[in-house]
Amino acid sequence: MKHEIAEAAAMERARARLYTFFSDLLLNPPTAERLDKLFTVAGETAMEMLFPGHPDVETFKQISWRHRFGRRQDQDFLLDYEALFRVPGESYVHPFESVYRQHDDPHAKGGKAALWGREAREVAQLYKDEGLQPREHFDGLPDHLGVELEFVAFLSCKCAAAMECGDQDKAQGFYAKRAAFLAEHLLAWSGKCLTRVGQNASTPFYAALAALLKSFLEDEKYQMLEAANF
C-alpha cells in the first residue's frame, strides 16, 4: 500500500513536471539559452520516454540534432512564437480560454470573443482561492493556455505532497480540484487551440510541440475518465 502511494505521488510529480514543461514553453519566447537547454541528449531521451512511438518525437529529435550540430533556427522559432502567441495577425491563435469558450470560432468576424471573459475571471478566482498570485513582472492573462497548465502542475504537486505526508483526504481534495479544473476549463478548449497552433505554426517545432501537448492532454482526459469509472 505504501509503495502504491509513493508511486502515485511520483506520478503526480511527474505529471506536474510535464505540465510545467509545456507551460514554460508556451509562456516564454524561445531564447537561445532556453533552446540550448531543451535541445540536448537529455531532452531527446525525455521525449522518447514520455511519448513512446509518437511521430512528433522524431520531429523533435531531428530539430534537436540540427540545433546541436550548429544548424540553429533560433530566429525562425522566435518569429513563429511571436506570430502564434503574441502578435495579433494571420497566425495568431488567441491562446486564451475565454476567447474560445465565448465564441466557437475566434477568427470569425463580428463575433464577440472577448478577452477577460467569464472564464478568465473564473480561473483567476480559482488561482486566488489556492493562494496564488501573478508574479510581479508577469503581465499575461489568467486564462492563457500556459497559465492554466501551470495551475494544473501546482495542483498535482499539492496532491503529491499530501500523499507523501499520508494525508489521503487532502490528496483526494487536490485530485478532485485538478479533475474539475481540467474538465471545466483546460480540456474544454485546449484541443481547439492546439489544433490551430498545429495549423498556423510556420516551424515544425511548434507544430510538434502542439501535437505532443495535445496527445498528453487527451491521455489525461482518458485517465480521468478511467478513474471516474473505476
Partner: protein, 937 residues
Amino acid sequence: MSATSRRNFIKGAMALSGLLMTGGCMSESSQPKNWISGAPDPDMVEGAKVVRTVCLGCHSACGLQVKAKDGVAVKIDGNPYHPNTREPQLPYATDPKEAENVNGTVCAKGGATLQTMYNPYRLQHPLKRVGPRGSGKWKTITWEQAYGEIIDGGDLFGEGHVDGLKAIRSFDPIDPGAPELGPKANQLSFMAGRIEHGRKEFTDRWFENCYGTVNRRNDHTSICETSHHIGLDLCFKGSHHIKPDIMSAEYIIFFGTTPYEANFPMQALARKLNYFRERGGTMVIVDPRFSNSAAKAARWIPILPGTDAAFALGMMRWMMENDRIDLEYLSFPNAKAAKQGAGHLTWSNATCLVRDDDRKLLKDGDNLLVMSNGSLASAEEVKSADLLVDTTVDGVRVQSVYKLLRDRVMERTIQQYAGICGLDAAAIEREADDFTSHSRKATADFYRGSVQHTNGTYTARTLGILNFLIGNISWRGGCEAHGGSHWHELGGKPGNPYDIKDKKKEFLPGKVKASGVHIDRHKNRYEETTEFKKNGYPAKRPWFPFAYNHVYQEVFPSIAAQYPYQTKCLITYWNNVVYSAPAGIRQIEAVKNPKVLPLFVAIDIVMGETSSLADYILPCRHFLEDYGTPHVAPTILTTTSGLRQPVAEPAFKDTKMLEQIFIDIGLKMGLPGFGKDGLGPGRDLVEPWDWYKLLVANIAYGDKEGDSVPGATEEEKVRYVVERGGRFEDYKDAYKGPYTKHAYKGPCFIYNEELATSSDSMTGEFYDGLPVYEPVKDCLGRPVENMAAEYPFHIITYHPVYHAQARTAASPWLMGVTPEEVIQINAGDAEHLGIKHGDMVRVYSESNKDGVRGKAWVMEAIRPGIICIPHSLGHWQYSSKSFELDDKPTGSASWIGRGCSANPVMLLDPHLKDVCLQDPIGGSSSFYDTRVAVEKV
C-alpha cells in the same frame, strides 16, 4: 498505463526538470493579489439595458452602444450599426437584440464621457450670483425663481433695474436712424459654444421665429475651423467640406491636421487610414509638429505655420511646368461637356473670362461667356473652351481664369515658395510629382491647422483648388465634396411627413420673422449700413459678409463695445469662449460690467470659466442624457443620421434638457410655438421628445417616397430608428460605378466672383478671387510685425487624441494619461535656452508679457523654432478651484486645472486690442500666428 510505461513516464519527467528555465508565472501568497486591476467586469453589464445613442465627446458623432443598469450608465461601446465605429458597420436590417453581441469601437474620450456625466462637480441646481459678476459667490435658487427673474427683470442684484426677456422683446427699431440694425428684440443674444443638429434648429426656432432676435446661435465654429468651410463654400456650390475617399485612394496629403488624433470622425479616419496604409497608400503629413499621424506617414513635412498656401502654389507651379495639370478637365465649361467628354460629375470655371474693369465674369445676360477656338461663345453651348485667354471684348480686357491662375502661380519660383514655407524646393517638387502620379486617386486635404490664420479662407481655397487641377472631385478614390450626408430630419423632402422648416407656416403658428444686423456682423455687409454712408472705411469693427458660421470670438468684444448696438441680455449654452478662444482671457472684462451688459444667463453643466461670469447659471443635462440628430463628415460615404437619446436616468434630477428650459420660458412668456398645438394643430410642444419625435419620423420615412424603414405605423418606424440609434445606409452602398454614391455634382470655382467683387470693411480693398498666399495681417490689412529678435518662437497648439476642447479635463482617466509636461520645445532650442525636460518655463508674447507657465516637454518631434502647447489643459475654473455656494465653499479638484493653455498668450489684433487676430473673410480666429519667447523660471 502499464508499470513500465509509468516508470518511463516518471523517468522522462524527471529528465525534464533540467530543461526548465523559469519558476513559473505564479507565486504563493497568504494574501494573493488580483490579476489586474481595472479589468472590465462584464457581470455589471450582463442583463443591462442597451441604449444606442451618439457620442459628443468630440464632434465626430460616433454611435454609442451604452449599457445601463438600474438607471445608471455603466459601459460604453461603439454602436455597431454606426459607420464611424466599424468597417463595415452591421447591416441596418440586423436585429437589434442580435446586434448587442457586437461592439463597435469608441476612442478613449468616448469611453471617458461616463466620467463627465457622473462628474461630481456638475452643477445640480439653478444658481444666482450674490456678489459682483465673476466674484465666485452664488446661491441656489429654484427654477421658478430663475425663470421669473430672467423673464420679468427688476432690481435683481441690488444694482438697479434690469430688463428681463419680456421687456427686451420689442419690435421697435433699436436705432430709428439706422433701421438696418433691426428691432430691439435683437438685444437678446444667444451664444452657444457646442450645439448640434436637432438642437440648434430648435434654438434657432426659439430665438429667431418665436422670440424674434437675429442673434440666434453665435456658435463656436470660428474657434474651430470655420475658414475651412467658408473657403470651400467659395470653391463649390452648396458644399463646404472635403475629405479624401480614403478606402479607395492611393495618395493623400494632409495639411494642418492630424487624422490619427483629431479631425472628423477621428476614429473612423484613423481606422480607414490603417486600411489605406496596409494597401500601400501613401500618406503625407504637412505640419510643423511630428504628430501621431506624422509618425505613421510616408513623409512628414515640417512646414512653417501659416504657409500652406505657398506650398500648394509651389506644387501648382511644378505641375504646370511638368504638364501634370488635367487641362482636359479644366477645359470643360459646363456639366454636360464634362460628363460626356470624360465622365466627370463636376466642371470648373477655368475657362470663364474675368473682366479687368469690374472683376466680374464676362456674361451675356445670365450666360457666362468663354472663348472656344478663339471665338466668344456661351459656356453652356460648347464642349470645350480655351484655357489661356487674354483679349479685349467690347473695349474691356478679359482674361481666362486659368490664365490668371497661371500668372498668379508664376509670380514666385518654387524656391521662393519653399523659402516662405521654410523648406527645400525638393519637398514641394516631390509631393507635386507624387500627387499627380495616381490619376484621380489622390487628394490634398486640410483642416484646422491650415485655416485658423488670418489668411485662412485664402489658404482653404488654394488647397481645395489644388484638387481641381487633377480633376479628382467626386471620383472613387478621389476628393469627396459631399459624403453620404444624412436624411433630412427637418423635412421638406418628398418622403418626409413633417416640414418642420415650415415653408407652409404650419409648424409655428404666430411665427415671427427676425431681421437686422447680427451682433458679430456675420453675413452682414458694412456697405449696406448707415454707418458706412456716414463714415466710410474703416468700420469701427470688422464685418464678415462671408462668415455664414458666426464669429464667436467677436461676440464678447462687440458686447463690450456696444457695437453695432447694445446687448441687453446674453444667454450662453455650453460656451467657454474666455477659455477656448485665442486671447480669450482678454474677453473676461468685456462681460463684467452690468451697465454695459445688464443680464447674463449661462446654461452649463459645470462652473466653467465663462459661466462663472454670469448672473444666473441654469444647470443642463450631459449629452448622454440628451437628444439630438447629429450628422457626420464626408469621410463617411453612406447616408448617416444618428440619434442621440438619453441612456440612463439623469445623474442630477434638478437639471433640465436645454430644450425643456426654452419650452418652459416660451410657455411662461406666452411666445408663439409652445404648449398645446405648439407645433401646429394636434402637435403639442411641452417636452423635448415632442420635437424630436417629428425629426425621427422624418428620418424614418426618408427623403423620397418608398424610402421608409420597415414598420406598419409611424410609431413602429420611429421605434425601428430609436432601437438602432439612428438610421444608416448599408456599407455596400458607398459607391456607384466609378464615383462615390452621393457625390457632389456641380461647379468648381477656381475664381470666386462674389469674393473678388466684395470689399473688406476695414480696408475697403477688394478680396482676392484666386488662390493666393498672404502673410499674417491685422484687421487693417497691415502685416503683423515679426519681432523675431524679441519673440524667437512661433507658438502652435493641437488637440491630443484624449482631449477635446474644455470638457475632457473633468475626466480622471483622461487627465491620468495626460503628461505633466505640456510646453513642447525642440531639443536643440531647449539646449540653447538651458531648458531640461520637466523644467518649469514661461511662455509670453507681445500681448501677454506675463504669459503662461508649465513644465517643458523637450522633444525632437517638433520643428526648431516652434513651441507647442496642447489644448484642453490649464483650466482656472471648472471646479479646479472652489467657489462659494450658499455661503459655503464648494468641493474642488486641483488636477482639473493642471497644465496650461496656449490661448492666453495669443496675439491681440494690434488695432482692435480686445480680440485676437482674425481672418477677415471666414471669421476664423488665429491660433497659429503668434510669436512668443520662452524662458526657464
